[in-house]
Amino acid sequence: MTEKIDIKGEKDMPAMAMSLGLMDWNKTGSWRNLRPVIDYEKCTRCMICWKFCPDACILIRDEEPVIDYDYCKGCLICAEECPRDAISVVKEE
């Protein structure tokens, strides 16, 4: 995980314009109003949801799709595209 990079002054600046870390510290899961939930009984592991996630936050764990709620923005493309209707939608509190 990238630590927050503190740039206080010129001395902390890189010699040229370049990035010093990834955006992974930015937990976009807090943007979510609706939560997609996979029903593994219905899921056939076709990975179509993984393929179409614009936030690259459906992980592959032991050949199964696992939604990373730290980053999932709740766009629901995965639920819309799942051919098995295996992804249900739950309202976030």
Binding site: M23, D24, N26, T28, W31, E64, K73
Partner: protein
């Protein structure tokens, strides 16, 4: 479990795109095809924001953020620099929006194409200037709502035929892609990478924010655009050899595509009929262009010198 596109993820979660952003899917697929040995030249566009603020990035490949009109010239410069250093493997990619491509960046792009510089240019097309608040571009379809083409001042002109313009430069490879067809897109970007010279790829990338459409319909809209023939998938080799990749057996009426988007909400039945006629006419024209090309394509694509 079988994956139909590469597993490698060079786009990091935590990026700043809106929910259901097609431009983000386009980048994810492009990088899966390009791999790690890639440098991007990105002019002002949504992607300069999506990537994240300095000193962070969402991409695991180097990016050069450049001025709005300079995606292609910056890429040509980087390519020349790499060549001077003896690096023949790194693929330089200009990555720009439709505004940066169809409008302000067209002269830099035309220059790079005319010189046949060894760069790949990928335009993600969301059909307006989204980053600055949904202003019309020359890629905006006729009659579409934008903040500069309100209902009482509709855009009367059709979408610019950018693919035709690029083909007219007789560059080795031009292709259209859609975020609803990732396998096709990965294949085309790989093909472009293996081709020496200037390559142009036009990706259809729905924008829920600007199109006033539900985020979950992003992929569905991109698919409908192909199934209704609004955005055909095809390749052009050396500017003359056409190959249509998807020929919908039973094309859907354009209404199905149009009705899901707020930007077309004001259209009358007559407007939609007119759009249908234009789409049918353009499709017939494309079929004619592709006639007799079947045998000669690909063979003529010059392979990259190793």
């Amino acid at each position: 479990m079988k994956l139909t596109i590469p597993e490698q993820e060079l786009m990091q979660s935590g990026h700043l795109a809106c929910q259901g952003c097609g431009a983000t899917l386009a980048m994810r697929y492009a990088l899966k095809a390009l791999g790690q040995n890639t440098v991007l030249s990105i002019p002002a566009c949504c992607w300069s924001v999506i990537d994240g603020p300095f000193p962070y990035s969402s991409l695991k490949v180097p990016i050069f953020h450049t001025a709005f009109e300079t995606a292609a010239s910056a890429a040509s410069g980087m390519e020349a620099g790499l060549e001077m250093m003896g690096d023949k493997d790194t693929q330089v990619v200009a990555w720009a929006g439709d505004g940066g491509t169809f409008d302000i960046g067209i002269q830099a792009l035309s220059g790079a194409a005319e010189r046949n510089d060894n760069i790949m240019y990928i335009c993600y097309d969301n059909e307006a200037y989204m980053n600055t608040g949904i202003q019309r571009s020359s890629a905006t379809p006729r009659l579409s709502w934008t903040t500069t083409t309100p209902e009482n001042h509709p855009k009367e002109t059709p979408k610019k035929d950018m693919v035709g313009i690029m083909a007219a430069h007789r560059i080795p490879y031009v292709a259209t892609c859609s975020v609803a067809y990732p396998e096709d897109m990965v294949k085309k970007v790989k093909k472009a990478k293996d081709t020496q010279g200037c390559k142009f790829i036009h990706v259809f990338a729905p924008c829920p924010t600007g199109w006033r459409s539900a985020p979950e319909t992003c992929v569905k809209l991109a698919r409908l655009a192909v199934q209704t023939k609004v955005f055909p998938l095809y390749e052009i080799f050396n500017g003359v050899d056409y190959k249509i990749n998807v020929k919908p057996a039973k094309p859907k009426p354009v209404t199905e595509y149009v009705k899901l988007q707020g930007r077309f909400r004001h259209l009358t039945e007559a407007d939609i009929k007119q759009i249908q006629r234009t789409v049918d006419w353009e499709w017939e024209r494309l079929l004619k262009m592709a006639e007799g090309c079947e045998e000669t394509e690909e063979k003529k694509g010059k392979k990259k010198k190793k």
